[in-house]
């Protein structure tokens, strides 16, 4: 089986400081990978390098591309595993609109706050060539429904939404083009626990229904326990432990993983 994403030796330095160093792993279709670690451990740097937002100093991010469908006439990437770092920028940006999705920690970073919810969801569709208003609107309404936002809010701006709704809207906006790989940067950060629980429930359902692969960066072990199949623990830019989620959380081997697991507050 070809891995959907194969990360090989990604390194990123900020001057003399290590962002992340020599990270490698494979992600298979339908798999959810969690990356945990404390602040400054390099998880977000790694995620941004993989998603093409940052240029890594070394390494490869090989993605198993698929042949372009007719609606994606602009991009002319061939199918099969390709190193996205060596890709041309138009190809990478095309990938970012079609097969990839990126959920930001702050919904404001991922949404257009001056544009209605329907427009936000429709943007990716229009970016890949949808030019039929009725179809775009139907799809947007359908997706609002799937992320549990009332269809009557379709013309409201995200500024009138609560934090949890904004985050769900961001997810809808990202998943509307049917991506195969979702990058998530602390998707539940800044939300209160009951809203977090709903969002996690929703994400778990979507990941399962759509057969998505996902890479979730978080410092919240409960999130990875619920969503991730596999787990990587990062410290000081390096991966110190990796394995099945339950295995790592229940029987941590590395001293730092043990510290991390024992630091979780019990209610």
């Amino acid at each position: 089986m070809t891995p959907l994403l194969s990360v090989q030796g990604i390194s990123k330095h900020y001057g003399p400081h290590i962002g992340c160093a020599d990270v490698s792993f494979d992600l298979y279709p339908g798999e959810v990978m969690g990356i945990v670690g404390e602040s400054g451990s390099g998880k977000s740097t790694l995620l941004n390098c993989m998603a093409g937002h940052l240029a890594p100093d070394a390494g490869q991010v090989v993605f198993d591309t698929r042949p372009p469908s007719s609606s994606e006439a602009v991009g002319q990437y061939t199918d099969g595993p390709r190193d996205t770092i060596a890709m041309s920028e138009p190809e990478r940006r095309m990938l970012g609109r079609t097969d990839w999705a990126f959920v930001h920690q702050h919904a404001r970073d991922g949404l257009r706050m001056g544009v209605s919810a329907g427009g936000n969801v429709g943007e990716r569709l229009m970016a890949v060539g949808a030019r039929h208003y009725g179809d775009i609107r139907d799809k947007a309404t359908d997706w609002l429904d799937r992320v549990e936002i009332d269809a009557s809010r379709v013309d409201d701006r995200p500024t009138t939404f609560s934090g949890g709704m904004q985050q769900r809207l961001q997810i809808a906006r990202n998943l509307v083009t049917g991506p195969r790989l979702v990058f998530m940067d602390e998707p539940t950060g800044g939300l209160d626990v009951s809203v977090q629980a709903r969002l996690l429930d929703l994400l778990r359902g979507l990941v399962r229904d759509m057969g998505l692969s996902a890479i979730i960066v978080t410092h919240d072990l409960a999130v990875v326990r619920l969503l991730a199949d596999r787990l990587m623990v990062m410290k000081d830019g390096r991966v110190v432990e990796a394995g099945l989620t339950d295995q790592v959380l229940d029987d941590p081997q590395h001293a730092y993983s043990q510290l991390l697991v024992s630091s979780v507050l019990q209610v």
């Binding site: 920028e89 138009p90 427009g119 039929h132 208003y133 609107r137």
Partner: protein, 283 residues
């Protein structure tokens, strides 16, 4: 008049502007940066258009200026006088007699011919400006042809108003490549942009951009399949000349709700009246 160089600007500046114009003509719809000069008039009064006009004028040219279609408004009169004084060129209000026409917000009703140049004054050349505030990002979007966002604006229009409510500065796609802001002309004029015999030059002074449409360029107004583009105008005949196919201004004539509709193109309207056409409000 010898105190000024011909057409106010010095020769090196005109050369620089001509280079930008030629590049613009070679890449229709592409915004060419140029070193805009301080002109003896405020930004917003057509400094971009004036610089382009200065660069293309020759002593043999006949110059016409229109402001919202009219030859007799402040902006039109002052710019016409400006070139009369600094270039000594002949001026006219007749569309067919002019070789260079500087315009603000309208395209003349009378079809332009080969050999004529239409110069637009442009306030904001970037069609994506109010959707994407970062200049670095809009440039990238142009270079990578990522124009999905432009349709988001039209989508918002339909979602809010039930139809595409953008009525001026309606975005167009040039030769299937660049999305361009046609300057704030009413969308009624959009169909005239394409396949025009005259050269069309666009100058934005404050934003320091020049772009151009060579003759007979394909220009398509953006729309949705189920909400096609429609060139709209007030549904009345002209009160003065009775024309039914020209773009109209609504004029309030008293404080009791009285109003009349007249052609915004004064030259067109005058010519029709001289030919004996009469509207219902004509004295």
């Amino acid at each position: 008049m010898t105190d000024y160089n011909f057409a106010y600007l010095d020769e090196q500046t005109k050369r620089m502007i001509r280079r930008a114009i030629l590049k613009g003509l070679a890449i229709p719809g592409y915004q060419v940066p140029f070193a805009s000069r301080e002109m003896p008039m405020p930004y917003g009064w057509g400094t971009g258009g004036v610089q382009v006009s200065a660069a293309v004028l020759t002593p043999e040219d006949t110059f016409k200026v229109i402001d919202q279609g009219a030859d007799d408004t402040t902006n039109a009169v002052s710019i016409r006088t400006f070139f009369q004084r600094t270039a000594g060129v002949a001026t006219t209000t007749s569309t067919s007699d002019a070789t260079v026409i500087q315009t603000r917000h309208r395209i003349p009703e009378e079809p332009l011919t080969e050999g004529q140049i239409l110069v637009y004054q442009v306030p904001i050349p970037e069609p994506l400006r109010f959707l994407e505030p970062r200049e670095s990002e809009t440039r990238k979007m142009h270079s990578l042809e990522e124009y999905g966002l432009m349709h988001v604006k039209l989508y918002e229009d339909i979602a809010r108003h039930g139809h595409i409510a953008t009525s001026y500065a309606y975005p167009v796609k040039v030769e299937g490549r660049y999305v361009m802001d046609p300057s704030p002309i009413p969308k009624f004029d959009n169909p005239k942009l394409g396949d025009m015999a005259a050269i069309q030059l666009f100058g934005a002074g404050r934003e320091q951009r020049i772009y151009a449409l060579p003759p007979y360029t394909q220009v398509i107004s953006l729309d949705f399949e189920d909400h096609p583009f429609e060139a709209s105008k007030a549904d009345h005949p002209c009160g003065m000349c009775g024309a039914t196919k020209s773009y109209l201004d609504e004029v309030i004539i008293d404080d009791a709700g009285g109003r009349m509709f007249v052609c915004s193109d004064t030259d067109f309207c005058d010519a029709r009246q001289a030919a004996g056409h009469k509207g219902k409000d004509a004295a």
